[in-house]
Each structure stands twice: as structure tokens, then as C-alpha cells.
Amino acid sequence: MQRVGVFVCWCGSNIAGTVDVAAVAEALKNEPGVVFSTDYQYMCSQAGQDIIKNAIAEHNLTGIVVCSCSPRMHEATFRKTAAAAGLNPYMVEIANIREQCSWVHKDMTTGTEKAIILGKAAVAKVNLNTPLTPGESPVTKRALVIGGGIAGIQTALDIADAGFPVDIVETKPTIGGKMAQLDKTFPTLDCAACILTPKMVDVAQNEKIRIFSYSEVEEVGGFVGNFDVKIKKKARYVKEDICTGCGACVDKCPMKKNPNEFNLGMDNRPAIYIPFAQAVPKVATIDPNACNMLKNGKCGLCARVCAAGAIDYTQKDEIIEEKYGAIVVATGFNPISMEKFDEFAYNQSKDVITSLEFERLTNAAGPTAGHLERPSDGKSPKTIVFVQCVGSRCDACSEKGKEYCSKICCMYTAKHAMLTRDKYPDTDVYVFYIDVRTPGKNFDEFYRRAVEEFGVKYIKGMVGKVTPEGDKLKVQASDLLSNKQLHIDADLVVLAAAIEPDKSARPLATMLTASMDTNDFFTEAHPKLRPVESPTAGVFLSGACQGPKDIPETVSQAGAAASKVIGLLAKDKLTGNPCVAHSNELMCNGCSSCERVCPYGAITYEDKEFRMPNRTTKIRRVASVNPAVCQGCGACTVACPSGAMDLKGFANSQIIAEVDAICK
């Protein structure tokens, strides 16, 4: 029989405001096994913890129930308290009477009644608890960063700086991501390339960092500290270690008319290409869909001009297997497709462009060498209309756009408008907005400069329709403040398209068993207290894969993710979770159901000999769980048809005891 102590926390007025804590402590005194019951104002405080420690010693408690906040909040705290008093930490149960009780009830009577029931359930469970001892597993001291944009670059640099090897996997031929495509950065207007490319060079030169460019994560197995990852290095038909990036092949390639992804298709590139001059690694890549040699076996010009002999038309995709201790997701974002926004005539006129395309148009390394020219006829636009919130902040039921605010558009539009007015003062610049949101250091000052110093015309209201007519774009819009319809003849319309997570994020989340929200942004373990960790142990989040972010925020999060990774890799051993599955071999049918649902590959089968009646034996196939690999998710216990699989600390009998206690 257990000797159970019950400790009811007031949490100041958080619990005591809606729950009669003294009544709860009194009621639970009569539950089976309970030998001590008390309440206190802040059980998690030093004084509160001392009450628990003293009671354990004084009453020889074998298990304790703390009626307090969510176990996510303080279960670890009270387990430590129990351990300090010599009690096995897994003999602690938490009854959540705050989030699941006092915070959701208004009435003291019902709140108290429910708190007592939750307490009874926890007592019923702790009566069946057994001491558990966690195992240990080693840590592979290498990190994987998925995505080589500014988020991935910063995370990798910070981890490498602490002395741990890091691999970056980037799907594009070069690292750099979206930031490499930008012109200037708000709110200081320093040029993106000037601050990004030195970091890219740092990455290339850092001997702790390996870059797998033009590569994808193919498969992820294992668990925190011991991930097994397969990386597919796509054939680029150029030997990376030999290519010097001289560009002779690029100049000579006859297949020149392929849309240039880096310039968002606004100009062309050859079949063999280096995305931009500062690419890292600076290595050519052959586009197999464009190369005549790869398609038809005719040409071979690049191989002839390559002095280094780096061209290899027979190159195949290569699978690299590596072990990692931690994984950082930095898959970033993309602007959403403008396909569904016919009202802005994006598909009808070349002069309706997205903001990212505008970045390329104004970038000195872009298709127009930085001269602001209309894509249709190369003329200088005299009237530019910027439209904000295209696809952002839509109705929940909207099929076109996103419900969330894309966060970066207000600031980059202010930047675009300001820079245009600065360089071309004779240009009329209109910005249509719903709200202007500038919550960042020096952000509002920046926006006000655009309005006050640079004379950008900010108009509250949405653009209803853009109609191409002759060489003009007829913009029909409403001015909500003066309640007027506006008609503007524009030369260029720039759409601040909403941003969404990269398409690779969802399959990656499945591989990592990391959770996502409905918009496919990765979910953090706790929105406030664990913002850079995914709920999956060993998986960390960096940058816009977790939600829309500007560069300063991304870089801070990248550093934070790196520090979490460093904290993990600095450990030699990880203490496992002892709440793992185990199979009762006498009941196991060996049917393989559990193995099929196990996301971690923790279950194997063996043929075992069993004693049967009359001195006979029988060989049966039974499941066994590798406790180092098992994460205790419990999927197997549900899939097991015979009930042979059970979870330590969450045994079926314990759960049923809780249900019984609640229903009694």
C-alpha cells in the first residue's frame, strides 16, 4: 500500500480564487492511501517545496500528488523536490487544477467539485505508480541545419563557433536564401548583400561547417542525440571539389533561354549556371531539363571549355548517411502564388509585380542592373502603386489568402516607397494599406520618414481592381478616410504578397515528427517560454519556418536555436525518459501491429521459447522495445490488439484507475 501525500497549491488567487483549496485538501484526506494532505499559497516556492520535503520525511510518503498547475509547467520542479527528499521522482503525480479547472470555471462550487475529482484521479493513479529509473543515451556531437538562408547560416555559424561540427542542407545550388535576393534592408537601409555575403564566406571557410547544397533531407530516423539522417545530394553534373567557379562554361553554354530562378524569371540564364556572383559554394550546376547534352546527348561544350575538367554528365544522385545529435529546421518562406488574385491583373500585365520581384528590379545585381524599369517596355515608371496585405489578413474562410499578418510587408513597402522617392524624386508613389504595422526598434520612425520626408502617399484603403489599358494600369481603389473612390493611372503596381512556409516544410515535419499549425508553420514547444524548440526533442526552429519574421528577428532566433543546440551537444549523455513502452511477452501475439505504427523504429521481434503445460515448449514470435529509441508516444499500446504493450508511468491500469476515480 502506498503512503500518499497530497499538496494543494493556491497559486496565489489563480487557483484559490475559484477553488476552495482547503476543502480540496480535506476531501482528498479520505482517499485510499492518503496519509497526509495540506494546502499552501505557492507550492512551487522554496517554502512550498520544503513543506513537501518535510512531509515525505515525516510521514514516510511513498508517493505524492500535487494539485497545482499543468504538469508542463511544474512537473519537473516537483519531481526534483521529491528526488531531493529521497523519493523516486516518478512517484509524483500532478493534478492540473489551474489550466483545466480554476481558469475555466467561474463558480467556486463547481470549481471545487472538479478540483476534488481531478485530485482523486491523481491519487488513484499514484497508488499504481512504480519507481522508474531513466536510461542514458550518448549524444552525437554534430548538428544538422536544414535550410541555408540567413536563419540557417546564423545558426550554423553560432554552433560552429562553440566548436561543434555542423552540416547545412540547402535545396538550391547556393546558400543565401531570400536575403541574397534583397536589395536594401530596413530600417537601416544597409545593402543585404554587404551584410549577408561575408557571412556566407564565413560559412564556406569555417572548417566545422559542411555545406550540402543542391541537396535534400530524404529520411530521418532515430531520436534526440542520435538522429540518423539520409541526405540526397542531387546530381549537379559538375564535380564540386574541382569546379573553380570561373564561369567559362556559363558564358559558352548555347542553351541560354531558361528562366532565371534567382531573378524570379525576369531574365534568362544558361543551362549551366551559377545563381549569382557571390554564390557559396561557387560552383556551376547543370539544369538537366535545359541541357541539350543531358537531354539529347548533343553539345558537350561546357566540358570542352572547362579547364579544370569538372563537368561530369554521368553524375548520379548520391545518398549521404550521417548521424546528428540535433536538427535545426530553417526552411524559410516563399511569397504566395498570385494565381488567384485576378483583380490585380498579375497574370495579364508584366507591370504588375510582387515585392520580391521589385527587390530584384532595384538590385544592382538584378536583371536591370538596379535601374527601375518597367518589365514590359523598359520605361521608367512615373506613377507606382504599392498594394499591401495581398493575401494577408484574409477572412478565415478565404480560399485565396492567409488569415495571418505576414508581418514584413509594411516595412519593406515603406522601404521600397522611400527608396523610389529618393532615387527618382519625380515619381508619384502611392501605398494602399489596411493598417501600417511597425512594431520594431526604429520601425515607426522609418515609416514616418517615408511619409514625412519622402512624400510617399499613404492611403488607407484597398485596391479593388487593376486593369491594363494601353501602357497604363488603371487602378481603382477606395480611400476610406475621405470616403472616396480613387482612379489612378499607374505605370507599375507592386503587390505585397503574403508569405507562406516553404513547400518542403510539411513533408519534413512528417519525417521529423515535428508538429505544425494549420498554416504549415512549425509549432514551438511553448509560444512564450520555449519559442525555438519544437515539441519533438532535439528538433529546433530557426527563422520564418516558425512564423513570419524579419531579418533582425530571424537572426536573434537563429542565435537562440544555436544556443539550445550547443546546450544539447555539450552533454555527453542524455537522460532518457523512463516512461517507455514495454511488451508483456506472455500476451504478445507477434502480429507486428506495433512495429507498423512505431514512428521511431523502436520495436523489433524475436522468436522466443516459452514453457507450456506438460513440460512442452513453444517458440513464439514476440515484440521487444528498445528503451533508448522509444519516446513513449504510446501509439503501440493503442495498436496492440492483445493489450501486451503498455507504457511505463502511463499503464492502461493506471489510466483506467483514473477514469474510474473520475466516474465514481
Binding site: 504478445c588 501475439n589 507486428s592 501491429s593 490488439p641 493489450g643
Partner: protein, 332 residues
């Protein structure tokens, strides 16, 4: 009315026993009554010749018996499998429940089996003997002066009327012609129940399940119920021998059992066949099969060995739980 005769089966069994291919035969033998056919293991040609039975009451699905019998017999065991039995056979192989190497499976055609309850509806109680003349059954009862002739088609079991397949999906040897998978109307009754209001449906099931005497015959006959130790017999399971709180709680057993076999049930219909209270238990299983088909695409458990059942598999095309919830909401 079976196309294949007892003599042919006996001849096959005797031949395989004599040439040493198998050392035992899993077949049917007479029980207490003519309609009360019981599975039996025959170890010699003489036993087979004397006791082997083949008639319209040989409904028993032998697949499940292989789990225990393959462990008891030296060498191979011969098993006769009707088309529907072969699905259970494959499903048990998928679950690694017996060693395929220890079995010699002979597929036999089946023209549908008789349901004794339907016979009783026509002739009444007190059946003392039933003779099969090919087209009809000659039934003698205690209370009738002369035997009553009953058309074999008129007393065919529901699962045979709605036969889902005449095709054998597993065998070492086939006797007679193999058939095809059939577009049956087996889900019509489920659809009728789905169309009811929740109250009507509850009444229907309460009425049916209230007859249950918890004899466990359904569980014992079910080829999907082969657990080493059934949770309902296991004192550690926390559900064993629980006193029911009300008259309906114990009947939850059947609903829980339907969940238990969901995705593994091949719809062989043994549960309903063996039920002494004539509860249409197969409808619960068919509801699951229908839902699985609708939610995850057509899936027939046991159609092939090693297939991954939708409920224990994940594909990116799987529908989101919300969609299931919404549909459930509409049903209610």
C-alpha cells in the same frame, strides 16, 4: 448442393496423408446433430474415411485453428479452405500467427452454406436429421409425421447470400474451378442502419445485444481473435469480469470487440454463424469495413499477405481527423 463431393475431399485427404505430404488433416466431423458440424483433426486415412463430413453445414472457417494446430503437428497439416476462409488465412499470415511452411492448403469451391436458424423458421424445432439430396434438404423433426423438403437456396446463410468472393486468395492446390470477387450487396443493411436516427439505431442495437448471454462463442470462433491471452480473460487488463453498471454496459463488449478487429476483420461472418442468440454481429464489423473503404479507399483485409491496413498505416493522402469528425457529425 455443393459441387464438390465428400468422396472427392476424402480421396484428396487420404492421398495426401498416404504419400506423406501431410501428417494430419483439418476437416469437418459430425457433432451432436446433423447440422452441428464440428472442426476436427484427423491423423489417419481410416479416421478420415470414417468421420469426415462435407455438407451444407460445413461453415466453420479453419484458418484460426491453424494457429494452435500447426504447433501440435509434426510435419504439415492439410487444411480445406473455402474462398472466404482464404482471406482469414492470409490475414493470420500477415499477423505472423502461424508458420505457412507447416500448412498444405487446398482451396475448395463453395456454393453457399445453410443457416440452421433459417431451417428452423421453416420446419420448427425438434430437428432429428437432415439429408442433402443436392437441390434441397430433407428435414425430419420430432413433431412432423413426414420429412419436410427445404430448398437449399431458401435457407442459405446471410453471409453466403451476400458472398463477397468466390476467389481463393491463398492455396497450395485448388480443387475445382476458381471463382471471382463478387460485387455483393453486403453493405446495404449497414446503409439502412446508418440512415436511422441515433435513437432508432440505439434501440435497434439495444434490442439485438440485449439477447447476448456472453457465451464468448463469437470471440472463440473469430479468426481475428487469436490473442495469446484475451484481455477479457486477463486479470491484469483491468477490464476482466467487471460487474456491469447497467444492462447495456456489458453489451459494449461487442462494440469494443468490433473496434478490436477493425481493419483486421475479413468479414468471414463466423461471429454471426456461431451466435446462439442470432445477433447480427457481422453488421458491426461491416460498418467498420464500410467506413474504412470510404475514408481510406477500398481495403479488403486478407486479400494479400503483408498488406498494411489503413488503420495501422500512414500515408500523406490520409484524410485529416477533422473530416472524419465532420462526417460523424452529419451522421448524428
Amino acid at each position: 448442393m455443393q459441387k464438390i463431393t465428400r468422396d472427392q475431399l476424402v480421396e484428396k485427404a487420404v492421398a495426401l496423408l498416404s504419400d506423406g505430404t501431410v501428417s494430419a488433416v483439418l476437416g469437418w466431423s459430425r457433432g451432436e446433430f446433423d447440422y452441428d458440424i464440428t472442426p476436427a483433426v484427423f491423423k489417419s486415412a481410416e479416421e478420415v474415411k470414417e468421420n469426415f463430413v462435407w455438407n451444407d453445414f460445413c461453415g466453420a472457417n479453419f484458418s484460426k485453428y491453424l494457429v494452435a494446430q500447426t504447433g501440435k503437428v509434426e510435419g504439415k497439416i492439410l487444411v480445406f479452405l473455402k474462398p472466404c476462409d482464404t482471406y482469414s488465412f492470409n490475414q493470420l499470415l500477415t499477423e505472423h500467427r502461424f508458420d505457412r511452411e507447416k500448412v498444405y492448403a487446398v482451396g475448395i469451391p463453395c456454393e453457399g452454406m445453410a443457416d440452421i436458424a433459417k431451417v428452423r423458421e421453416i420446419v420448427g424445432d425438434g430437428i432429428v436429421s437432415i439429408e442433402d439430396d443436392g437441390e434441397s434438404l430433407k428435414v425430419s423433426t420430432l413433431y412432423a409425421d413426414a420429412p419436410v423438403l427445404v430448398g437449399a437456396k431458401d435457407v442459405m446463410a446471410e453471409r453466403c447470400v451476400n458472398c463477397k468472393s468466390k476467389k481463393h486468395v491463398a492455396f497450395d492446390e485448388l480443387m475445382g474451378e476458381d471463382g471471382e470477387v463478387i460485387e455483393s450487396a453486403r453493405f446495404d443493411e449497414v446503409a439502412r442502419l446508418e440512415a436511422m436516427t441515433p435513437d432508432e439505431r440505439f434501440l435497434f442495437w439495444q434490442n439485438e445485444l440485449s439477447r447476448c448471454i456472453r457465451c464468448n462463442a463469437c470471440r472463440d470462433a473469430c479468426p481475428a481473435c487469436t490473442c495469446e491471452k484475451c484481455v477479457f480473460d486477463n486479470p491484469d487488463s483491468a477490464v476482466e469480469n467487471k460487474a456491469p453498471a447497467n444492462s447495456f454496459e456489458e453489451k459494449m463488449f461487442h462494440i469494443i470487440r468490433a473496434f478490436h478487429v477493425a481493419g483486421r476483420c475479413t468479414d468471414c461472418g463466423e461471429c454471426s454463424r456461431v451466435c446462439p442468440q442470432n445477433i447480427p454481429l457481422h453488421l458491426l464489423n461491416r460498418k467498420f469495413i464500410k467506413d474504412i473503404n470510404e475514408f481510406y479507399g477500398e481495403y479488403q483485409a486478407g486479400a494479400e499477405v503483408g498488406s498494411r491496413a489503413p488503420l495501422v498505416d500512414y500515408t500523406t493522402e490520409d484524410l485529416e481527423p477533422g473530416e472524419v469528425f465532420e462526417r460523424g457529425d452529419q451522421d448524428a
